[in-house]
Subunit: 168 residues, 2 copies
């Protein structure tokens, strides 16, 4: 299973693709899509969308995971993040790829076992879980990989619960 995590943003949009097989995860691809803050907003959005379409076509993920952003936490950049997340969700749906969303707290809980973990703790756990010698850089990349790991863990749990059958 290929899971593509997307940490939505307009100036920097992190992505990370994780392959999950036989209980182990490995990073398949990770990076950051950037757009020029000096360019006009509609052109930046079109450029971001073009990159997202290309990523989904290239990686052919089985699921796309986009962070669910709560606006209260960062009002200044909220509009740009909302617009970028809309493009990511739409692009996945148009490609026929199932989409999942998790909040930052859900990701921390799944990856670091602690909903109030620091960014640094999450990044170290991402490296640990993916067998990397150091936390992935830049941080947007680690956040995107964390989203993918969160979805793998959640899917695995759901599969186990389903296999266990109904409660007696």
């Amino acid at each position: 299973m290929f899971v593509l995590g997307i940490d939505p943003g307009l100036t920097r949009c992190g992505y990370g693709c994780v392959e999950a097989a036989r209980g182990a995860e490995r990073a398949v691809a990770a990076g950051v899509v950037t757009t020029d803050p000096a360019a006009r907003l509609p052109l930046r959005l079109a450029e971001l969308r073009q990159e997202l379409v290309a990523l989904v076509a290239e990686l052919r993920p089985d699921a796309v995971v986009v962070e669910r952003v709560l606006f209260q936490t960062n009002a200044r950049t909220a509009m740009a993040v909302g617009q970028a997340s809309g493009l990511a969700l739409c692009t996945a749906a148009e490609a026929g790829v199932p989409v999942a969303q998790y909040s930052a707290n859900e990701v921390k809980l799944a990856v670091a076992g602690y909903g109030a973990a620091t960014k640094h703790q999450v990044q170290r756990m991402v490296a640990e879980l993916l067998g990397l010698s150091a936390p992935p850089r830049p941080p947007d990349t680690a956040d995107a990989l964390a989203l993918a790991i969160c979805h793998v863990a959640t899917s695995r749990l759901q599969a186990r619960l389903a296999a266990a059958g109904p409660k007696r």
Copy 2:
């Protein structure tokens, strides 16, 4: 000149196209794109985008005008509005159509001559300016037409200023 105004929203996205010629405006098309609130978010966004792409292809506007939303004013629906506005801006840019954005206050000022005009006052002025016997319904439609009118007025002013030449 055809100007397509878009009042971004996910459950209801208003649109209105105004033709400006020889100092008079008339409504060419107006309506509301709706998506099912019970459907999954990515599918709703993909559906909205499909409708926006079709609108731009059909109306071939010379400019697309999207309301610039300030998140502070409506935090509850802010995410959906941000996502919808991102799709509208991106769709226009991909079609090669110039995009303008105005805040609600700028629109009120341009259409009703008063930045603190009520929604009802703006809707009546939209009807007046477009020679309609009653304010366009539903209100999302009137808001979108008001955006288009605002852009026509702004463009006309800029053209006059340019024709007047540099200040001496």
